[in-house]
Amino acid sequence: MNKKTTWTLAALAALVVAGCATGPSVSELNDLARQVAKASFRDEGIVKADKVLNADETNRLCSEADVAGKPLDEAMAKRIEETNLKAIQWPADGQFLGDWKQGEAIAQSGRGLTFTDTANTVNGGNCYNCHQIDQKEISFGTIGPSLYHYGKIRGVTDPASEAAKPIVEYTWGKIWNSKAYNACSNMPRAGHSGILNATQIRHLVALLLDPNSPVNK
């Protein structure tokens, strides 16, 4: 038995003895879970265990809320959303839209960032895993809402117009950092977490908002 297992066993044994009458407290269990995770996961490929297990405040608080089975209280949720909103990087040149055809390819691809990928893998957006987007694609997930007719439903006929600005910015923001608008969203923070770069996100915004995109036909 290696050192890590012995240490965790000792911690577990101590917990059991201490909590014999009433069982370990919530915070003791949280600590134990952290120790178990640290002892169980190892670095592999391009993934560093430390980085993943020491999640940021957003993930930590949302995970705790899920374990407790209660949603985050409003004030905390708002604070998380504000923090994430402030962290959004808007396009430096003010160009929000790219090429919807490349956007479709990015939405279809789920590659990158796993422990069997390399640093050279071009990351995909994973979008179809959770969303319906182009109606032609029948292999879509339902973890997120359908995005078919995304621009059409929102009345965006000219993404460059002043009227469309709020929707265009929201779309960029949501893809860059979904938690800016919903603290415990299931959706990844593509830009914030370095999954996709600004160019790729431009293509995705076009996929959703370009009137010529099949999404809006």
Partner: protein, 290 residues
């Protein structure tokens, strides 16, 4: 006599029109009725993508290649192997030395001799080491599909088959079993990695799917033969036999998490959480998957 033939999805309706003048209106009415009937019929005849996949999977059930691994595992149980040249017939999987029937649906559980909660695959490592003299740590470090790992998989497949159709009934009487349930629950909801994924991101709600793959809600009992009750399973898409350890490993890989050690406490704790949640559901392991 004019004949209208309306055809759709293998159904053909022939409408006969006798006198062109008088029956013009009637033929139009008939046409629309036919069109309506055909679209209803075709809607009934048309399968959802999910149904089509279910039919394909049902067809695969016959001659599940998992049986090949079952046969291999059964042979390994009574074969003298390892530095100690011994069989596994004295291995205690939770219901006494050598008892295999019914153990799968009670794992993971606490074992007094090792002082820890163990799942099937980590318990097999314990037995392979203590009875046969193999190095458990070495086997744990060996990648899936290589060396002794193949034997662990075959053994796990056979042992699971000896509980086929029995209902999950994990013990929560030992304090460590209760603690591991809570640890497993926390791991299940732990968000992390660049995608902020937790197990719950995919398996935390009813009626969701990823692409076209239905996702069971694993925060509660997902029903007979689903989730925890369906592994080990033979995966047709890559022709591989996967135990629960490999299933969890690949889930974590797709979550962009680091590598969970084979038989590590994190994987065992998750097994406790999933297994206890499945209480009462029937195991169909070893199953067959796409």
């Amino acid at each position: 006599m004019l004949v209208w033939r309306v055809k759709s999805k293998g159904l053909t309706l022939l409408l006969f029109e006798q006198n062109k003048e008088v029956t013009m209106q009637r033929s139009r009415l008939l046409f629309w009725m036919a069109a309506a009937a055909l679209s209803c019929a075709s809607a009934l005849a048309q399968k959802t993508a999910s149904q089509g996949i279910d039919e394909y999977r049902a067809m695969l059930q016959d001659g599940n290649p998992a049986e090949l691994f079952e046969a291999k595992g059964e042979g390994l149980w009574t074969q003298k192997r390892g530095p100690k040249n011994a069989t596994l017939e004295k291995c205690d999987l939770g219901k006494g030395p050598g008892v295999v029937k019914g153990v799968f649906v009670e794992l993971p559980r606490f074992f007094a001799d090792t002082g820890r909660v163990q799942d099937l695959e980590s318990r097999l490592l314990t037995c392979m080491e203590t009875l046969q003299g193999f190095n458990a740590a070495e086997i744990a470090k060996t990648g899936f599909g290589k060396g002794e790992q193949n034997n662990v998989t075959a053994l796990a497949t056979w042992i699971a088959s000896e509980s086929k159709d029995m209902r999950f009934n994990l013990s929560q009487s030992h304090p460590q079993e209760k603690t591991f349930y809570e640890v497993g629950k926390r791991l299940f909801f732990q968000r992390g990695g660049p995608h902020d994924f937790a197990c719950a991101s995919c398996h935390g709600e009813d009626g969701k799917r990823i692409r076209l793959q239905d996702l069971p809600n694993l925060t509660k009992n997902p029903g007979d033969g689903v989730g925890f009750a369906a592994w080990p399973a033979y995966r047709v898409s890559n022709g591989q036999m996967w135990g629960m350890q490999q299933r969890l490993n690949d889930c974590y890989r797709q979550q962009r998490f680091p590598y969970p050690g084979f038989g590590s406490d994190a994987t065992i704790a998750l097994g406790v959480y999933l297994g206890v949640n499945s209480k009462g559901s029937a195991s169909i392991a070893p199953a067959i998957k796409r």
